[in-house]
């Protein structure tokens, strides 16, 4: 469907390479797409959610006649064109009022998706205005045992984490800890996945708070954390779910060789807790050993017998030039 682009200059080549498969991937981009029946409430909801995904989000303005659960090809095309692997599709109908469909793609093909019906929404504009810098990494918390037990809720957890976590960083500036997204669901989730009765499932509460730290009198190092809600405030009801094809999911979960943790060879810890390593020294051909240049091997007079013991040490310091077969020597490393 998409014609294969041949880069005509260095700039377009760089852009194309940025979109290609990489060992360490880019931050996932998101799209907000409006359905043909998307209401104002849903549009506002999507705008609020997108504000925490900035700058990795693109908001579509036009309405599109799409039914994701029937045919997601249109959304797959948008994903490919915009290099976005997360899509939120908003729609409204009598049967499914104020619904957001969250879709994830793998290799520009639909991986998994689920519907969340908005039970109530309080917009960011309705809260006290507290600015959060764009692009800040949020703290995220999932509270509720159902997020561990129920596979659909595990999918929701995975999708939310993928969506909100932002850029991968190794060094965090402590001033950058500004807000927390709290996703909770009460209930133990002892409801069969296959019953199809989604009304029995608990609702998902989505809250966002700004963090304020206060100096603690009890402990100098750790501050007291206080929160203030900044919105948006959502209560979602999980609707239809389309799980990922297991083969595709297996492909998607593959870790490239470069990122797999490397096992350190030849280093062990012995029973005493000491770190012991094996150094492989090449085999010495004693026939070819240069003995003429070793002072310690010279025949000395009777009065110089005291220093004879030192002659042995010189063998250990010899630099081996031949390496026919490796010879092992154990050395303790501290």
């Amino acid at each position: 469907m998409m014609r294969i682009l041949k880069p005509r200059n260095a700039r377009s080549k760089r852009a194309l390479d940025n979109r290609a498969s990489k060992v360490v991937e880019n931050t996932k981009k998101a799209l907000t797409v409006r359905g043909s029946t998307c209401s104002v409430l849903v549009q506002n909801a999507m705008t609020d959610i997108a504000s925490y995904k900035q700058p990795d989000v693109k908001k579509f303005q036009k309405k599109n006649e799409i039914h994701p659960f029937e045919d997601a090809s249109s959304l797959e095309f948008f994903s490919q064109k915009n290099d976005a692997s997360l899509i939120i599709f908003g729609s409204h109908s009598k049967k499914r009022p104020n619904t957001l469909t969250w879709l994830r793609t793998f290799n520009y093909q639909a991986l998994d998706m689920f519907e969340l019906k908005i039970l109530n929404h309080k917009a960011i504009s309705e809260f006290k205005k507290l600015t959060i810098n764009i692009g800040m990494k949020p703290m995220i918390s999932f509270v509720g045992p159902i997020f561990d037990s129920h596979p659909h809720f595990q999918m929701v957890k995975s999708m939310f984490l993928d969506f909100f976590r932002g850029e991968q960083i190794s060094m965090l500036d402590l001033a950058g800890l500004q807000y927390i997204i709290s996703v909770t669901a009460s209930g133990d989730g002892n409801i069969s996945v296959y019953s199809g009765d989604t009304s029995g499932l608990p609702s998902i509460n989505f809250r966002v708070y700004k963090i304020k730290t206060y100096k603690s009198k009890k402990q100098e190092k750790v501050p007291r954390v206080e929160l203030e809600e900044i919105g948006p405030r959502f209560d979602f009801q999980l609707g239809r779910v389309r799980e990922a094809d297991p083969d595709m999911m297996k492909q998607a979960m593959k870790i490239p060789k470069e990122l797999q943790p490397k096992a350190k060879k030849n280093v062990e810890t012995d029973l005493l807790g000491d770190k012991v390593a094996t150094i492989h020294v090449g085999k010495q051909d004693l026939m070819k050993l240069q003995t003429r240049k070793m002072k310690g091997l010279k025949k000395r007079g009777k009065d110089e017998f005291a220093g004879e013991g030192n002659g042995d040490n010189e063998f250990e310091d010899v630099i081996v030039s031949d390496e026919e077969q490796p010879k092992k020597r154990k050395r303790h490393i501290k």
Binding site: S85, P138, K217, K218, P223, E226, A252, P256
Partner: protein
């Protein structure tokens, strides 16, 4: 006055959080997973919006406190984000571990491209690319800055930092310039 009193009282509040089932963290993603049961009574009550919100906020506050405690326990890196980079020296930085939660990739793992004809030949023959000139600058560990290898004020021109005592010079010998052009007691004949 009331504001400062409020702050004072906040300082008295505990900084530790107790949880029946220990909480799991994914600090690489700044995330925590709490599988403790929530208070179903507060959650299921209809019409008690404020109480419900207050409860959710308290849960979130506890989560945030736990996360902050964990993050502050991580090793601190001084000297900015790149550990010594002049441009990012301000701010206290903490080294985050790798994320533990596995999330699906957006694109498949890259396949190594097939070697070109030249690359195959070079590999077989053992031809390596020529060592490129690294330029004039070299990092001086002692000074902690970049200096020139050669040229004006280059490193190769610096005076030796340790000079042995030359006894002839110390006792007040004649300068080189004085002896120039004199020759050595040449008798003119």
């Amino acid at each position: 006055m009331s504001e400062s009193m409020k702050i004072q009282s906040i300082g008295d509040r505990p900084v530790t959080v107790e949880r029946a089932i220990p909480v799991t963290y994914d600090l690489g993603n700044l995330t925590m997973y709490d599988t403790n049961m929530m208070d179903s009574q507060i959650m299921s009550s209809t019409g008690e919006e404020e109480a419900k919100e207050a409860y959710l906020q308290s849960l979130a506050r506890d989560s945030a406190q736990l996360l902050v405690n964990q993050i502050l326990a991580l090793p601190v890196v001084t000297g900015g984000r790149t550990g010594g980079d002049v441009n990012h020296n301000d701010g206290v930085f903490v080294k985050l571990p790798d994320p533990t939660t596995q999330l699906p990739r957006e694109k498949p793992v890259p396949v190594p491209k097939p070697l070109t004809k030249w690359e195959k030949f070079a590999k077989q023959k053992g031809i390596t690319p020529k060592a490129r000139n690294t330029g004039n600058m070299v990092y001086d560990e002692a000074k902690g800055e970049w200096v020139k290898k050669w040229g004006y004020k280059g490193k190769n021109q610096e005076e030796p930092w340790l000079v042995e005592v030359d006894e002839k010079a110390e006792s007040g010998g004649t300068a080189e310039s004085e002896n120039k052009g004199k020759g050595k007691n040449k008798s003119r004949k």
